[in-house]
Structure formats: C-alpha cells, structure tokens
C-alpha cells in the first residue's frame, strides 16, 4: 500500500469528466448482449410453465411434442434433472430449495415444468402446447399472514407454518429503553413488491460440447456465481464451465441467481450437444423471475419529548414467494437498515420470511432498505409532528457520526449525514413558500458498501484483479467484477489509470468471462467500487512498484529525474517523475521498455485482491444521504407530480463522476416508481400486470430535476476514500413522497405504491374523522 496522503493528492483521472469506456459500443449498436448471440447450429428453447400456483405433477407426456417437425429435444425434471435443487445460499443447504424443472411439485404460476429445443422459437412455442401434464391441484396461499396460519397448506415439506427463514437483531435493553420513553408510537405498514424490469429480459445461450465443456452466454451480474452454481447443479467441475456476460441489459439485483433460461438451456444443450438459446418474453420475465420482497412492517418507537430516540422494535413478515433465493439476506438487511441512520439505545428486530405460492422474492437494488425506510422515515416524520419538533433537527441529534459503533453490528468510519441535513435545510429555505398544492418531503438513509458474510461459501478472495503492461505502455486490466450498466468497468479503469499514472485510453479492461478473469463475487450489495476497486488499486500499485524498481535502478532515469536517496519517484499522466520536482522525469513508455528488457521480455504483472477483515458481519463502509422531494398533489384526483428534488449524498470520494450522476438519477426514477407507480397485484396467484402496458414506470415526462449536493468525506477502507453509490439512493424516495403527502394533507400513507385512490381514501377518512370528532364534542 502507498503511504502518500491520498486525500490531499490532486487526481488526474478520478472524479474528472471521464467517458464510459463501453460508450462507443453502446451508442453504435455494436455491444453484443446475450440477446444478440447466435452460434452455429444453434437451437431455440422454450419453457413450459405451470398454470397452477400449487400442484403436484402426476405425469408429463411429451411424446407428441417430440414428434412435431423441427423439435429436437425435450427435458423434464423426472428424466433429466432428477430433482436437483439449487439456491444461492450455498452455506445453508436447506435453503437451497429451488428445483428448476421440478420432479413432483410446482409452487407458483409460471414455474418451469419442462423445456423444449427446436429449430426455431416458433416451433418450440408450438411444441409446448403438445406437452400434456397431469396435475393434482393443491390448495394455495398467497399472503404471508395467511400462510402462517395453522390450516394453511404446506408449501415446502418440513417448514412448519411456511416459515422459511427468521432473522433477529437486538442491542441494548429495549424494554428498559421503552420504559424510559415519554412518547411511544406504533404503526403498521404494508410495503409493496417491485419488479426489476431489466430492459434485457432473462437470456442465455448454452453450448455444451462433446469434450465435456460448457460455455454459457448469460445476462447476469455475477459470472462467477453462475459458473459455480451451474457446475453444482450439473455435477461438473467449475473449471469446465465458462460463463460469458459481455454487456448485460440491466440487472438491478435480479440477475445473480440461477434462472430458468440458463438452467434449461444448459440442460438441453448438455442433452443434445448443440447450442441452445432461451430468451424470456417480457411476460415470462415478469411472472417467472423474481421481485423485490413485499413486507408487512410493525414498528414501535419510543422517544423522549425532546426528540431523543430511545427504543425501537420492529416485527416484519415478508412475502417470500415460493423459494428462498436471496431472501434471507434481504430479511436481515431490512432489519438492520431499519435502524439507520440513527442511534437507538435499545433496538430489536424480528423478521420472518414466509413461503407463499407466488413468484419468489429476492434482492433488488436497495436490498430490503427501501422497505425499511418507507416505514421508518415516515414514522419519524409523524413523531416529530406529534411532538411539535423540527423533523430535520430531530433527525440530526439522533444520527450516526464518524466513529459511532452500531452495537454488535458495525463500526461507522466515515459519515457525512450531518452535512446532509445542512444542505437540505438550505434547499428548503431557498424554496420559500410553496404553492398551496405542493409540499416537500424528506427522508434520510444509509447503505452498505458490499457484504461481508460469506453465505456463498467461496474459497476465493471476494475480489481480485490483475494488471499487465504491454511494451507500448498500454495496460490490460483483468477483473471479475460485472458491469450491468452501472459503469463498474469505467470506475475500475479509472482507479487503475489513476493508480498506475497512465491515461484512460491506455487501459483495456477485461471482465465478464470466467475463463479469463479472476473470480469476484460480482455486482450486488454495492460492493464493486470498494472491493474490486481495492483489488484493482492493489494490482496497479503492485505493477507500478515493479516498474519503478527499474526506474530507481536505471542510471539514465536517475540522472534525468535528479533522484537521490530522499526523493521518491511517481508516475502521473504517463510521466515518470521526481515527486519533489515533477518537471524532472522521463516518459512512461520509456520506463516500460526498460522494464521489459530487465525482465527478459516478460510483461510486468501486478496482482491484487480484497476480502474485508475485522469489519463486522455486515459491510466495510456505509454511505449516507438525505433526500428532499417537492411533490404536487391534486386534491381532487390524488394525482402526484414530482416537481423537484435534491439529494445530499455522502458516498466518500467520488471516482466516476458521470457514473455517479447516472446512479443518482437512475436510482431516483426507480425509487419514485416504487413510491407511487410500480406494483404487482396478484389474483389467485396470478400476476395481473405482466407487461409494460399495465406495469407503470417513470418515463421522461415524469422525471423531476435531480440535483445533488456531494458531501465531502473520506472512507479509509475504500479505494481513494470511496464507498457505495449505486443502491442506497433507491432507499429514500418512497418515504420522501409519503412525507410530502403528509405535509400537504396531514394524512399518513402506510402502504406503497401510494396511488391516487389511496390518497383520496385517506382524505375522505380524515374528513369523516373530523366530522365524527365534532359530533362527539
């Protein structure tokens, strides 16, 4: 590790206006997604899906489908996959509960039952109609509060009352803290699900060859996970499975588990020894992928009359859907972030994830925190109003600070929440008096920078990187991190260029191919900038150190730089120079050639890796933010329009400036959608809006200005002081919209998305209460 004080170094690449390195490919249509992959002799696969939410499979007869001209093969659970189960929580085998292609039972509408490969997609689709399946339909249950009842049908054997996972968090003496409280408030919330809606639907092309090797093109956010999971379910060695994920059309937390497309295409390909491509239609992507976890939240909070937070207790039931997926993590994180960003003397969280006969819920950008903030940040606003306190000052006096330790959970190093309050206060003040139909709502939150708990049970470092330098000074950077649009390729190239002292155009980044890149846990939990970033920094430093060894030893460079024993050399912008007298130096490519000669023609290779140590169980660093949203609401129709917003944001040292703005704006649109548009209504287990006509999302006309106030902090654990910026921003918006409605009308919205009808109903209810209140007097 370098010893220079980086905080005071002026960067040449970091946080400058750097273009996305995949830009040319993406704006010209050259970027080839899994959706576009076409291999010689390739077949097209289609999946037969369960029409029942809960049923036993008695018999599958596909003989007619096989006879259909153009059909090449069919696979089923009984004959081909033999009930092999999968799950991403590999450390806990009983949570690996998902049979893709089930043996005996289906648990949600849309679950794969069999798969067909044919010469064309049309033929495969027609063949699906020829497969006869006998089902014994079982009673089904769709809501967690129904599924825990004694008489509820059993969805998974051995999971009593359908309770899949429980998570508990507690610190301090909660009951004592409640006793001390002068004001206690309890509320119940119903927080909705949300679909990832990646523009590229689930897609895979599997190519199994007779030498026993399998190559898979797959749209995902962690090629290493998919490699390992596929090896596991197919009984192959990891090294014989290659996953390629160049260009991924969005993921948002929905693409790091094994999905039907990859599984069925691989099983078909292994059976038929031909490449098989499966692309989900938009409808399939809706009904048979996964979603953000819907939750029922009970929150009880005790405070002093002066607004000092004392105790909080939360009890949460989540609708887990049919399988575990990443649900256990979401269940823990929602409980943890429900405490954020505040200090509680006593905090208790009991979370229960319940199986139901709906599509499985899992991780999605924010990973449990948007649900937690929708409940927490609204309740806090109501408490401030109940007590007549300034909601910002009340938040401020209870907030985390640098060096604070969340008891038994995490130590906070950098924390800029206090400055966030200043920025939002200033913004609100500058706005002055708003028109009558508008109000501002705020919401605070924080988020993790990568996860620590090794639930995947990987033997590898969490992140790794390799840097090699070519004779002309160009650099090959190899990472296992995955760019799914968030711009990690660019961020990592920036870190490499800055560290090595070269230009952006010198870096050629290699990722998204398990054959050629080091394993890395991939893109989830906002982990790559910090974890892969640290690995890249270490690899670049390693390479640089090796280069400089030659410089220190080379008479020509020593004389040119005027080097003596007390002076250091450094490289910046391809200029190898004396740190004290930067004008004295030599060109970087000259040094590279010297080094190559010195190493008898071998390239310089730098290696780096990162696994968090001594950082608790959750995350090595936390981002903080406060968001203000100005909302216009039509009192007669309940229509919401977002007018303006400011996000005060502490993400440590920004690395990729354009990328950061993109994350902020993109997260805002997704979070605003979660606040008032996006929802997934089910009827008898059937998703009622599995298309982009009926599933409403923010469009350009709905998007308000999204200003940002960057709070200057330095995170010691992150590369150059950086921490997360990708997910946390999805957390505050729904609550901020709710709070704006509260300030506009005095009504409390306890369910999201907050739709016009709900606002009007709340207003009506309020009116009636007022009336009956008057009568009673």
């Amino acid at each position: 590790m370098t010893t220079t004080s980086l905080a005071t170094t002026k960067f040449t690449v970091i946080n400058t206006h750097v273009h996305n390195i995949d830009g040319v490919a993406k704006v010209t249509g050259r970027a080839t997604y899994t959706f576009d992959v076409k291999l010689p002799n390739m077949l097209y696969g289609k999946i037969l899906r369960s029409p029942h939410p809960h049923a036993k499979i008695l018999k599958i007869d596909y003989s007619k489908a096989l006879e259909f001209p153009g059909v090449v093969g069919v696979v089923t659970g009984k004959e081909d996959t033999l009930g092999v189960k999968q799950g991403i929580w590999r450390r806990y085998q009983d949570l690996c509960d998902e049979q893709i292609l089930p043996l005996d039972k289906v648990r949600y509408i849309g679950e794969p039952v069999a798969a067909v490969a044919a010469l064309t997609e049309d033929i495969a689709e027609q063949a699906l109609d020829l497969i006869e399946v006998d089902y014994e339909v079982l009673p089904a249950v769709y809501e967690p509060m129904d599924a825990i009842k004694k008489e509820a049908p059993e969805i998974h054997e051995g999971f009593e009352r359908n309770i899949n996972v429980t998570r508990h968090i507690e610190w301090g003496d909660v009951d004592e803290a409640f006793e001390e409280a002068e004001y206690i408030r309890e509320d119940w919330f119903k927080v909705g699900g949300q679909h990832h809606v990646s523009m590229e639907t689930r897609a895979a092309v599997s190519d199994y060859t007779p030498d026993g090797k399998l190559t898979i093109y797959h749209s995902n956010q962690s090629p290493y996970y998919l490699q390992a999971l596929m090896a596991g379910v197919l009984g192959m060695r990891e090294g014989d499975v290659r996953v390629i994920s160049h260009y991924v059309g969005g993921a948002f937390g929905g693409k790091f588990e094994l999905d039907g497309a990859i599984f069925c295409s691989a099983v078909l390909s292994k059976k038929l020894k031909r490449p098989v491509k499966i692309i989900y239609t938009r409808e399939e992507d809706f009904i048979a992928s996964k979603r953000r976890t819907p939750m029922f939240y009970y929150v009880r909070t005790g405070v002093k009359k002066d607004g000092t937070f004392l105790a909080r207790e939360a009890k949460v039931f989540t609708n887990g859907g049919a399988y575990t997926g990443m649900g256990a993590t979401a269940l823990y994180l929602t409980g943890f972030f429900h405490s954020f960003p505040y200090r509680w003397r006593g905090y208790r969280y009991d979370g229960y994830r319940v199986y139901t006969n709906t599509l499985p819920s899992t991780s999605m950008r924010g990973f449990g925190a948007p649900q937690a903030m929708f409940t927490s940040e609204q309740q806090i606003e109501w408490i401030a109003a109940d007590l007549g306190l300034d909601p910002i000052e009340m938040r401020r006096k209870n907030s985390h600070y640098p060096g604070y330790e969340v008891p038994g959970q995490a130590r906070i190093e950098s924390c800029g929440i206090d400055q966030c309050y200043d920025e939002i206060q200033k913004w609100i003040k500058e706005k002055g008096k708003l028109p009558e139909n508008r109000a501002i709502g705020i919401s605070a939150c924080g988020f993790m920078t990568g996860g620590i708990f090794n639930w995947f049970d990987t033997p590898y470092a969490f992140s790794a990187a390799m840097v090699t330098i070519n004779q002309d000074g160009t650099v090959e950077l190899y990472v296992g991190a995955q760019d799914m649009g968030q711009g990690s390729n660019t961020t990592l190239a920036i870190i490499c260029a800055e560290t090595l002292g070269v230009k952006m155009e010198d870096i050629k980044l290699h990722a998204s191919d398990t054959d050629h890149c080091p394993p890395d846990l991939g893109a989830w939990g906002s982990r790559q900038t910090l974890m892969t970033g640290n690995a890249v920094k270490m690899a670049a430093e390693d390479a640089k150190k090796q280069l400089l060894e030659f410089a220190y030893a080379h008479a020509h460079i020593v004389s040119k730089t005027g080097l003596n024993i007390v002076y250091d050399l450094d490289i910046k912008d391809r200029w190898v120079h004396n740190v004290a007298r930067p004008e004295r130096g030599v060109d970087y490519s000259e040094l590279v050639k010297i080094a190559l000669r010195g190493k008898e023609g071998q390239k310089i290779v730098g290696r780096g890796f990162y696994t968090p140590h001594r950082k608790g169980m959750i995350s090595p660093a936390y981002s903080y933010m406060l968001q203000g949203v100005e909302v216009e609401i039509d009192e007669e129709t309940g229509k919401i329009r977002l007018i303006d917003s400011l996000t005060a944001h502490d993400c440590g040292q920004p690395i990729n400036h354009l990328g950061l703005i993109g994350q902020l704006e993109g997260a805002f649109s997704m979070a605003a959608g979660y606040g008032y548009l996006e929802y997934m209504p089910f009827e008898d287990g059937q998703l009622m809006n599995p298309n982009l006509v009926d599933y409403k999302m923010i469009r350009a006309t709905e998007m308000p200005p999204t200003a940002v106030a960057e709070i200057d902090t330095y995170e010691p654990e992150g590369p150059y002081g950086a921490k997360e910026a990708g997910e946390g921003l999805t957390n505050p918006t729904a609550a901020a919209i709710g709070n704006a409605i509260f300030h506009r009308f005095g009504v409390q919205m306890k369910e999201n998305p907050i739709r016009p009808e709900m606002i009007l109903n709340a207003l009506k209810e309020k009116k009636e209460q007022k009336k009956s209140g008057k009568k009673n007097k």
Binding site: E160, T166, D175, Y352
Partner: protein
C-alpha cells in the same frame, strides 16, 4: 453467570440472548427441544415465534428465557 444453549451449548451472558439464538437458528434440534419443553405447558416453538412476531413486546422470548434458565442445571 453465563447461559448455555441447551442444544448446541453455545454460551451467552444473558438467557434472553440464548432464547433469541434458539429462535434465530430454528433448525430441527432447536425446534424439537422447545417443543419438548412446551408439551405440558401447551405451546410449541412455532406458536411462540408467531406470538413474538404478531404482538408487541417480548413475551415469547421471556418465556423461553425462563425455561432456558431452569434447564441450565441439567446441562
């Protein structure tokens, strides 16, 4: 004094923590132990857990913590 989990023998300073651990783990042996204790008292592991989750306060944990305390001598 410290309290041991009657099933896996992990130790905590507080019997409430042991109760929390037992609920949190919730695997077969832990479940069975609680069910065994509740046989004559008319509760099961899952009853306690659902009560814990659906009513304010901490009753179930306290109930289980008391049972754990009593069981310490026989561990």
């Amino acid at each position: 004094m410290s309290y041991k989990c009657p099933v896996c023998k992990k130790e905590w300073k507080d019997s409430l923590q042991v109760a929390r651990h037992m609920f949190g783990t919730g695997d077969k042996p832990h479940k069975e132990w609680v069910d065994e204790q509740g046989k004559d008292k008319g509760f099961t592991f899952i009853d306690l857990m659902i009560e814990q989750a659906t009513t304010p306060g901490n009753k179930s944990y306290v109930t289980l913590a008391e049972i754990i305390e009593k069981a310490q001598s026989s561990l």
